[in-house]
Subunit: 110 residues, 2 copies
């Protein structure tokens, strides 16, 4: 995923990727250090293929990056995408804050 402006589809993919505890845990693990898919798989009570699918979801969302190293595929975090998601949520928060500020200003003017 190219990370310029967040399209609706991009946001869909990012939030959907975050909406699963296993995937959030994968993000936390690879944020510390890059890990191979099989190394990741050892931590979860599911098949290798299932973990591989979770990584694929994170990859499609642009939250991780895969880099071949020998016969392993090292999964690494892409914090820039996470930042985009945070900024999007903060934009919604700002809309709400504007409204409250508007009310406050209105009250102050009385």
């Amino acid at each position: 995923m190219v990370v310029r402006e967040l399209s609706d589809a991009d946001a869909d993919r990012i939030f959907h990727a975050l909406a699963d505890a296993t995937r959030r845990d994968i993000i936390a693990r690879v944020a510390r250090e890059g890990l191979s898919v099989s190394a990741l798989a050892q931590h979860y009570p599911m098949s290798f293929a299932a973990v591989q699918k979770h990584v694929a979801v994170l990859h499609r969302a642009g939250l991780v990056h895969k880099e071949r190293r020998g016969r392993e595929q090292v999964v690494q975090a892409r914090p820039a995408t996470l930042r985009r998601a945070i900024e999007l949520l903060e934009a919604y928060e700002r809309i709400w804050r504007q409204r409250v500020d508007g009310i406050d200003r209105l009250l102050a003017e009385e």
Copy 2:
């Protein structure tokens, strides 16, 4: 949803709720001002029942709050929940930053 500490299930619900463009748009609209479900429904190319379901998803996630007013049900934003989601993502970001800081410090010590 009570907003103390965010359980995995809470985070699942919140991010799942955010993973849909219609629901994100509903959040933006009700952030400006409370709106009845039918008022919301007019803006989307789908049935009233479909919009009602989207609102229910947002409600279960704690992102909106419903308040009966006469025969209408006014949907309002609950920014505190949004804030929790942002903080959760920032926690992941911090983990990554720690690692980078660690590397920086290591390089600086050489």
